[in-house]
Subunit: 338 residues, 2 copies
């Protein structure tokens, strides 16, 4: 096991490197942190840390920079989560409070996160499968054309057109609407399939086809929308990535355009607590020089979706984690209120 001081040296290296973006040497370290030992001693410690793979030197006679493994140790053992200051918390709350609808909440959250962390923010819309149904509405747009509107407890709305096999009377429609709602309102989306399973059978033979169509569209909507939507922002922050960024930034932008990639990224995060994926820990190759900090958020005690930021491995982990956690918390509150 590494001695206490060596860990301290690692912490100092991470701290300085994050700040300066330049390899940090033994002398500079002893000057900026009062480690109580001389540069020579620090050099020995550094040699040991390098031996273990926590730091590396870009070229022979340069300072050290942390490796992915070094950052990992740093976030696991050495760094706490820096809590937001009171003014910051107030600012967050004020900013989010102004939101008028779900889109606005998500949009504001993205901007807020990007601004706080100065990195790229990703926010997933509240998931359907973990939400509950608030209301199902059926609108008759034309004799044989319906619109299905699905409203969740988190305020999300999904709509879908339905072409019916046969015209459908207003009476039957009201009937179906009522029965549908009595079965699924307040229930979780994941339970819906079995709740509506035998609903078609209780209708007139004439209407059964249409009811079946409606139900299958409903189920289809649930499945389709399980691949969630998300919003990203703060891509301009990528330009602060580093000096060598032409080659760095390209794959990241490409990855960010692939919603599927991002969803998988967030999906990998554990349900509760914060997840930090560092460099190569990210499955997607384009993100191998980035770290992803993500956390679930929800209106109740349970997470309904996730949000996070994507930034260079060389990021301020405590600060970023603090911001991500705080934002998630407040978004949860906002959703619970609405």
């Amino acid at each position: 096991m590494l001695s206490e001081r060596r860990l301290e040296v690692l912490r100092a290296i991470v701290h300085d490197y994050v700040g300066t973006e330049e390899p940090v040497g033994s002398k500079a370290l002893t000057e900026r942190h009062h480690l109580g030992v001389s540069p020579a001693t620090v050099r020995n410690d550094m040699a040991a840390l390098e031996e273990e793979g926590f730091i590396a030197q870009p070229h022979t006679s340069a300072g050290r920079i942390p490796t992915d493994k070094g950052y990992r140790l740093f976030v696991d053992k050495l760094a706490g989560v820096k809590p937001m200051t009171a003014p910051e918390r107030r600012a967050i709350q004020n900013f989010l409070d102004g939101a008028v609808d779900l889109d606005d909440v998500v949009g504001r959250t993205v901007r807020l996160l990007a601004q706080l962390t100065r990195q790229v923010a990703v926010v997933q819309y509240p998931s359907l499968t973990r939400s509950t149904v608030r209301h199902v509405e059926l609108l008759s747009l034309a004799p044989a054309r319906l619109m299905l509107v699905l409203i969740t407890d988190t305020g999300r709305v999904e709509q879908r057109m339905i072409d019916c096999p046969a015209p459908f009377g207003e009476m039957s429609l009201a009937d179906l609407r009522a029965r549908l709602n009595s079965r699924v309102a307040g229930r979780r989306f994941s339970d819906v399939p079995q709740l509506v399973q035998d609903l078609a059978e209780s209708f007139d033979k004439d209407d059964r086809g249409t009811v079946a169509t409606v139900l299958s569209t409903l189920l289809e909507t649930l499945v389709e929308e399980t691949e969630e939507r998300l919003m990203i922002g703060g891509t301009a922050n990528l330009t602060r990535f580093g000096h060598d960024f032409p080659l760095m930034i390209r794959p990241v932008l490409e990855a960010l355009e692939e919603q599927v990639v991002l969803l998988k990224l967030l999906g990998e995060a554990t349900d509760s607590g914060m997840t930090v994926k560092i460099g190569h820990e990210n499955a997607h190759e384009g993100l191998s020089s980035t770290s992803v900090v993500s956390v679930g958020y929800g209106s109740g005690s349970e997470a309904v979706a996730k949000l996070g930021v994507v930034g260079p491995t060389r990021m301020d982990y405590p600060g970023t984690m603090g911001a991500v956690r705080a934002v998630a918390r407040y978004v949860g509150q906002i959703l619970a209120e609405s």
Copy 2:
């Protein structure tokens, strides 16, 4: 006025510079294009073109590059719109045909445009003010809580929560819903305000407050959503911008994050026909080294929204314009069908 040949020289310069990204000299020009004259003559022409401000040289002994004014002349007088090939048109149609709803149409359009032009694509959602109302729905979520759902002829759906000043009976609700729809269904959004103006008066005194709230929310939605939504994509293409791009790309990414800026950008475009804004012609400073090609699209003969691409001033104008025009045309068709 410039002689025919000088215009030809300018065209050649633009063509080569767009291809190579490097200042083009007189000798290279005569070799790649059969202008029928010697380099020396071309040099004289170049001097004249430079005198007029159509081209410039980065430093004394380098080739020439077109100025914004040069590009302007090029697109106005020298370049046509390169039509898409038949296979390209088929590919566009196939790709867009698979869309399931409006979000999907817009999403696909963005990806398609970005891919075709290899630039950043911007697509505006069909405008509300120019659309017509297909249906207005009122849902009762709680005794004193309603949801307003607005459906347009282009398939767009907007929803808004309403907290009523007093509980509202199911009867009154149905009544209001019916009257509202009979007044506004099929009408243009811009006409809605005056159509519902005196609606509240015809209700019971008890309900008048609620009706007024509903109406004001409806009008509010119209106003708010007049600032349109839009979708962008292909930002990864920014990395192909140029070698000097660290400083170039930053303001562009920032501008792209400001939806307001983009909307203004598209808004400046003329309603019919294609608009090309070159370099400093763009009001926004961050976009002073980009060109914007935009065009309106619509389900009928009238444009309901705009789409376009943002790229370096050094772009393939004929090709880009061709792609933009073709995509706009097919999106219009798709919307008309749905």
